[in-house]
Symmetry: D3
Subunit: 136 residues, 6 copies
């Protein structure tokens, strides 16, 4: 069985690669390359997988929430991804790269009996990024 | 009859008043005062009011969309409200103040036979700001 | 107190005025004038107003549902508005005109102690039409 | 300007009037009269109205959340409305009556400069109850 | 091809294991252990899989709806899961256990040519439980 | 990694097989067989899969949007599926068959480095059709 639990966070970013000229960045990322950045209300869906325990639950909700909050949300919410996160000092903070970072942050801190199975980050109501997480 | 038409835009902002100390800003605005800002996917609902014309419509959708785009969205979408908009050079860009600005921008450019009746700006799925617009 | 109850129906329509040429219809209604029509999943929100009775309710839900179903939904759901409804033989079935028709159909059949206060018809997730209903 | 802020709570209730027989209760409330009750995830939208302050805000969000939590949510969330609330010892806990109770609870505890303007309680995605609140 | 069809039902439950003390139940389930229970509007998504028939359909919608209604919804909707369902006399009615029960109920009654492939039960908008169903 | 991007289109259809009598069509498709058709607002979710490029993206959004628009949406939006599409001259335009057509249209035009992995078409908020797409 899998449980998917939903979290939300607001952050800002700018899509811009220092290796390219302003004009190339503009061609590549359009208005997302505007110099002062813009933002989103991201939705993060965390899916865990495992057997149901004697208490009828797949995972302790409070433990899962605490882990997600400490290891992922505390790093990104109300943040400017480009300027507040060293991981994005030389990597462009697209939602693809943000999804990979959140997976790594969660795996680093993971100490629950159920395994982390899947992540989805939605940016606006039109784009969602899915990452299946291998055995952990 | 009233027609409410929905638009969306992404922007970033920082809640911070230069008149106050960092500590006071932090107490007042919490994490929304983080120095590099954060962002939202705003939803803008524009309500127009008027009689239904012979062609069965309250307002020409393309004309309304063009007006909203030129006079409001072009100013705010993919922008950093604090740094890209001179109107927020000395005014804190809360969603309350953003709603007032969008109303002023729309009224300045309004040239449709139907009148602008109401504005709603939603920031995340938990906060919505409503402004009834007087005779125009 | 007001209760708003939500109904849904699927229908098709074509925006086209016989008084105008094909070219003028196309200019006025765009792709909505395509000759064979297109369709929508409409959402109808019916708002009733009145005092709360001794049984703790503003209106009997089953009675309201029956009235809406018999007098409005039965006329429009799974219908082609242009060809199935005599009311649209000479009137273009825009959502504005559909909202007025639904109000008239409901008022004609209204036999509930609570009054009909408001109607909203949403066509796609971007357009909603509101009609405040006077004393009845 | 008005701000509407959204809260959610889960509760259970049974629609049943001791003054009536089982059969009459069943006729009146249908399956909602089942003896052991059932439940809902209610959505509570609280609307406050007032001028925008020098800090760019209509109301302090933390103060509003604290008031709503202490005076309303703490009374109803994860509760059985019939058995946990003395207010429903002799009053049937329909959503109409729940809306009136929440309004009274909020007005009793109200100590914010902005006034309480409106309440909406939604029970399932098909029924919403609106209460305009007079001067307070 | 897969078709996912959505159903909704309201029910109440209490998370409580008689094998544990009140204090341990409280520590384990938090406010969900409140003695008189609380409730939810559950969303049930039933996914069937199979080839598309000559009539252009994967499954007859009326047959699927009838089966889901008779074998699953009729057992749980407007019910108190703890007190109305013998299956939960000695099993705590968490949504995990409810999902397993609904799968068993559907498999017991399954008589459609398309196979039952997947179930999802959502409890509030933050938690969803997924069960992939093996060959049947 | 997978990206799912959402598109919407309005169209109309009639469920009707010329090989059957009116009465048999009615028995099979119910009100969906009404002679003049009805319509829906379809939601199309297109999922692409592939590695993340040096620019931090899985696929160029503008290229994907252009491909979906030219090869799929341009054929179906604001159309009567039965009368405007030769593919449905002898095939009943159920959403199952529409999903297969959209997959074929996208595969025919596919020229992106990321592969087309999955399609979902939702018709009303109760039915969604999923097609996993094999290697391409």
């Amino acid at each position: 069985m899998r449980l998917t639990r939903r979290y939300r966070f607001a952050a800002s970013h700018r899509l811009h690669t220092p290796a390219l000229s302003e004009e190339e960045n503009r061609r590549l990322y359009g208005k997302c390359a505007n110099p002062f950045g813009h933002g989103h209300d991201y939705i993060l869906d965390v899916t865990v997988e495992g057997p149901v325990n004697a208490d009828g639950r797949l995972v302790d909700r409070a433990a899962l929430d605490g882990l997600v909050r400490r290891h992922a949300l505390a790093r990104v919410e109300y943040r400017n991804l480009n300027q507040d996160l060293p991981e994005f000092a030389h990597v462009v903070p697209t939602t693809e790269n943000l999804a990979s970072l959140v997976r790594d942050l969660l795996l680093d801190g993971w100490d629950l009996p159920a395994r982390l199975a899947h992540l989805r980050i939605s940016e606006t109501d039109r784009n969602a990024f899915d990452l299946e997480v291998g055995r952990n």
